[in-house]
């Protein structure tokens, strides 16, 4: 499959997650220009001050602390399991949900630093593939 074909897969939700040309993943944050409230995705209306203007997009941090994760052994129809999902707390107070890739054979650690990547989900039949946000432990320089 060519790189162009890969890029053309849709995101699970373009308002929350995008894959830029070249494959770089981005979590879409929303910031209210009036009150400074930040959230995952730009809302039509700021949840805190209810402003409907000055709602701006920005790129959320791509690293955060693992809060919880779970293996999913009995997936929904069409989804190819098993895999794991979980939640990561980003600096600034936003918690994001995505696929979690934790090394086999060791128990996950609360607070472990994770980094974002784009995972492609394939489905059976004619269902198109899609990109989802995923996290794996950050590379730590100097460690094996």
């Amino acid at each position: 499959m060519s790189e162009d074909d890969e890029k053309n897969f849709a995101s699970v939700d373009a308002q929350r997650f995008r894959v830029e040309p070249g494959g770089k993943p981005m979590l879409v944050g929303g910031r209210c220009g009036h009150c400074g409230c930040i959230a995952w995705s730009v809302r039509a209306m700021c949840p805190r001050c209810w402003a409907t203007d000055q709602q701006e997009e920005f790129a959320l941090p791509t690293k955060g602390a693992l809060y919880s994760m779970t293996a999913v052994q009995r997936a929904q129809n069409g989804y190819r399991g098993p895999y794991a999902v979980g939640v990561v707390d980003l600096p600034g107070g936003v918690r994001v949900f995505g696929r979690i890739h934790w090394p086999e054979g060791s128990r996950w650690r609360a607070g472990a630093e994770m980094e974002l990547f784009a995972e492609r989900l394939d489905f059976d039949g004619d269902v198109p593939s899609m990109w989802v946000p995923a996290f794996r432990p950050s590379e730590v320089p100097g460690h094996a």
Binding site: V12, D13, R16, C37, A39, W40, P47, Y67, S68, M69, T70, A71, V72, Q73, R74, A75, Q76, Y79, G81, P82, Y83, V85, G86, V87, D89, G93, V94, R95, F97, G98, R99, W108, R109, A110, L121, V132, P133
Partner: protein, 375 residues
């Protein structure tokens, strides 16, 4: 608020009910409750119906087949807390003096059997989440923070499923050991199949009375001491997944309103849709300190012969979970305990009983209700 009493109870067994219509299910529970209350349909001032997916004006469709007088009927949806939310509205109506006798019906007739799934496909579900996954995430966090083990969760399933063997209204009446629970099919995280409730169809009904309708006691009266409702509306700030805050807030409000303390509670029916739920609800209900759920499990205090039996009826795990009916069925079970007439696992000397139910999506929207009854 005036004093509000339980005048009558009724329920169908929970099961597949493939050949029973919604209207027939409802009629059976309602007729039983009215008979138990020694009331005619003309003695009912209003009806509250809790259900999730039965369609428009479900209450009226059921009651018209019973030639019910055209009193006010309100249909209420709060996911798995629909039945308890309907009960709360009825309690308020009678307590406020707007009605003297009110019928509460909780009912659900499900289209398909199996594990619980909800209508809304959220972002999380598109990424690959499943409904039990929210409980699995909470369970994993609890394990990470407090050393809770899969054996602790599995013990709850063995307890409740074994309790349910003696319950004639329960759908799943097969005892199992902790080992069998752990060895059952893996679902998510620590949750295996036997730790998850199965869907069912069924109906449960309660008649609440106050004022004129409460006079004359042919049996020990059960009084509604409080019924508190809390919401979950998570809009962004990260929350502590190791505790169910709506349960805690509803419990706190229910204890404060009634003047009853957690240590006064003699028996509990709570929302064990998944074992992780029961363990976390021990903490939310302040039956133990925050983080003390596993310790409470290991002490045996919540076993059917323990200090504070939880789910002696078998809970959702043994009964099955007709979404709208569950909240009302818990109250039916507790009324039997308080009257001393439980056919299964009667707890000796029950004076105070507590019911907790909760419902919602896995993605931050829901409700929890806590009701306290006493003699």
């Amino acid at each position: 608020m005036r004093k509000v009493y339980v005048g009558g109870i009724g329920a169908t067994e929970f099961g597949a009910h493939e050949n029973t219509s919604l209207e027939q299910l409802g009629a059976r529970a309602i007729a039983d409750a009215l008979r138990d209350a020694e009331l005619d349909r003309n003695g009912i001032d209003a009806v509250y119906v809790g259900h999730m997916s039965q369609g428009e004006v479900a209450g009226q469709r059921i009651l018209k087949d019973m030639a019910f007088p055209e009193v006010p009927v309100t249909n209420i949806e709060n996911a798995c807390a629909s039945g308890s939310s309907a009960f709360r509205e009825a309690w308020i109506a009678v307590g406020a003096g707007m009605a003297d006798a009110v019928l509460v019906l909780g009912i659900e007739k499900l289209a398909s059997k199996g594990l619980l799934t909800l209508k809304t496909q959220t972002f999380e579900e598109r990424v690959g989440h499943i409904m039990p996954g929210s409980y699995a995430l909470a369970g994993e966090r609890h394990m990470a923070e407090h050393g809770t083990t899969i054996e602790d969760f599995a013990w709850i399933a063995a307890k409740n499923r074994s309790n349910g063997v003696a319950n004639p209204k329960a759908m799943f009446r097969k005892a199992c050991t902790v080992e069998e629970v752990i060895a059952s099919r893996k679902i998510a995280g620590p949750l295996t199949l036997l730790q998850c409730c199965g869907t069912a169809s069924g109906a449960a009904a309660v008649v609440l009375v106050g004022g004129k309708a409460a006079r004359g006691a042919s049996r020990k009266k059960v009084r509604v001491r409080s019924c508190a409702l809390s919401s979950k509306m998570q809009w962004g700030e990260p929350e502590d997944l190791s505790i169910f805050m709506p349960t805690y807030r509803a419990a706190k409000a229910a204890y404060e309103y009634s003047g009853i303390a957690p240590e006064d509670v003699d028996v509990v029916e709570l929302h064990d849709a998944f074992t992780v739920g029961e363990l976390l609800h021990y903490e939310g209900l302040m039956l133990c300190a925050k983080g003390g759920g596993a310790e409470l499990v290991r002490s045996g205090a919540t076993a059917v012969d323990g200090r504070v039996p939880v789910n002696p009826s078998g809970g959702l795990l043994a009964r099955g979970h007709p979404v709208g009916a569950t909240g009302v069925m818990q109250l039916v079970e507790l009324v039997k305990q308080l009257r001393g007439s439980a056919e299964h696992h009667q707890v000796p000397g029950v004076k105070v009983a507590l019911a907790q139910s909760q419902g919602g999506t896995g993605a931050g929207a829901g409700a929890a209700a806590v009701t306290i009854l006493s003699t």
